[in-house]
């Protein structure tokens, strides 16, 4: 943790290159089939956040902060919370149902649940990544 610009050892970096894409895809998979199989938005969002945290722990903070900085993540989490709020208020004032309504037990079914899952997962993922960034950068300033 002293020379965090370099990151961790070579074994960790090689394994991270192989597995971090798989973790991201697995997280998205768990979010999208939340209404068919066990899973849902909250667990999938945490898995997506864990894949970014793994990238940052292995390669140092420079590798991730260029693409996905602090301001972008805060904006994303606010946007996802706002979209979820809009869906909830619309369900409160409207008369008819919105969302997928064809067939049963396919992936395009179950009304508004897939949209709510996606909004919640983006909120959880970007929020947890921002929290990790804030705590890690704070502890680094002390050393």
């Amino acid at each position: 943790m002293k020379n965090n610009q370099i990151g961790m050892s070579l074994i960790v970096k090689t394994v991270t290159r192989l597995t971090v894409g798989l973790m991201l895809v697995y997280g998205i998979y768990i979010v999208l089939q939340g209404h068919i199989s066990p899973g849902g938005g909250f667990a999938g969002g945490v898995i997506i956040a864990l894949s970014f945290i793994q990238l940052m722990l292995a390669f140092g903070k420079g590798a991730v902060l260029k693409k996905l900085g602090r301001e972008k993540c805060i904006f994303l989490s606010g946007l996802a919370a706002f979209v979820f709020l809009l869906l909830a208020v619309r369900g409160f004032v409207a008369r008819h149902a919105l969302g997928f309504q064809e067939g049963h037990s396919g992936i395009f079914s179950a009304g508004l649940i897939p949209f709510c899952d996606i909004a919640v997962s983006i909120l959880v993922a970007s929020g947890l990544f921002v929290i990790f960034l804030a705590l890690v950068l704070l502890t680094e300033e002390q050393e």
Binding site: M1, I30, G34, H35, I36, S37, P38, G39, G40, G41, F42, A43, V46, I47, A49, L50, I53, I74, S77, G78, A81, F84, L85, A88, G91, F100, Q101, H104, S105, S109, A110, G111, L112, I113, C116, D117, V120, L123, V124, G127, L128, V130, I131, F132, A134, L135, V136, L137, L138, T139
Partner: protein, 173 residues
């Protein structure tokens, strides 16, 4: 039978986490207790919760280790240690005695009274169209609870960003 063993394992891991000397050992046995809880959720037929508990507990342990490494504290025993310990143990024993009498009033283990859940299970497929009943309850029948949870998460994010802000530290020494 397996549930008794897993609960005993969690209790022992909890006692080790409470009494260990350095902080890293405590955090690692807390992680063992969390994994035992994930196994218990699987045995109690709750796969949704097992996935969520596993990943949330991994994240909590990462944040605990990452934030508190190199900051240990030696144990100090000042006066009135014996009185404090004995009074706390007496309080805990009283609490457990009252809990034993209260737990007799619950229905037997394995026979729940599912008055509301019976209707949720019967109407879930035709009213919501989703096969996962737990997600249908948490996001459709009780969707506003999920909105409250998103609000709490958002407040926690803002709280952490406000606590660890740099511009508030004017005079340090």
């Amino acid at each position: 039978m397996e549930l008794h063993l897993i609960l005993l394992f969690m209790i022992i891991a909890g006692i080790v986490a409470v009494e260990a000397r350095d902080l890293i050992s405590s955090v690692i046995s807390l992680s063992a207790a969390g994994l035992g809880l994930c196994l218990a959720f699987l045995i109690l037929k709750a796969p949704n919760l097992a996935i969520t508990q596993l990943v949330v507990e991994i994240l909590c342990v990462i944040i605990l280790i990452r934030a508190t490494i190199n900051k240990d504290l030696p144990l100090v025993r000042d006066g009135r240690w014996l009185f404090n310990t004995i009074s706390t143990v007496l309080f805990v024993v009283c609490f457990l005695a009252f809990a034993y009498f209260a737990l007799k009033e619950l229905p037997n283990f394995g026979e729940p009274i599912m008055r509301v859940s019976g209707e949720y299970i019967a109407n879930s497929l035709e009213k919501t169209g989703s096969s996962n009943i737990v997600t249908a309850i948490a996001l459709n029948f009780r969707g506003y609870d999920a909105l409250g949870e998103a609000a709490v998460l958002f407040a926690a994010i803002i709280g952490v960003l406000a606590i660890t802000r740099k511009s508030g530290r004017v005079n340090e020494k």
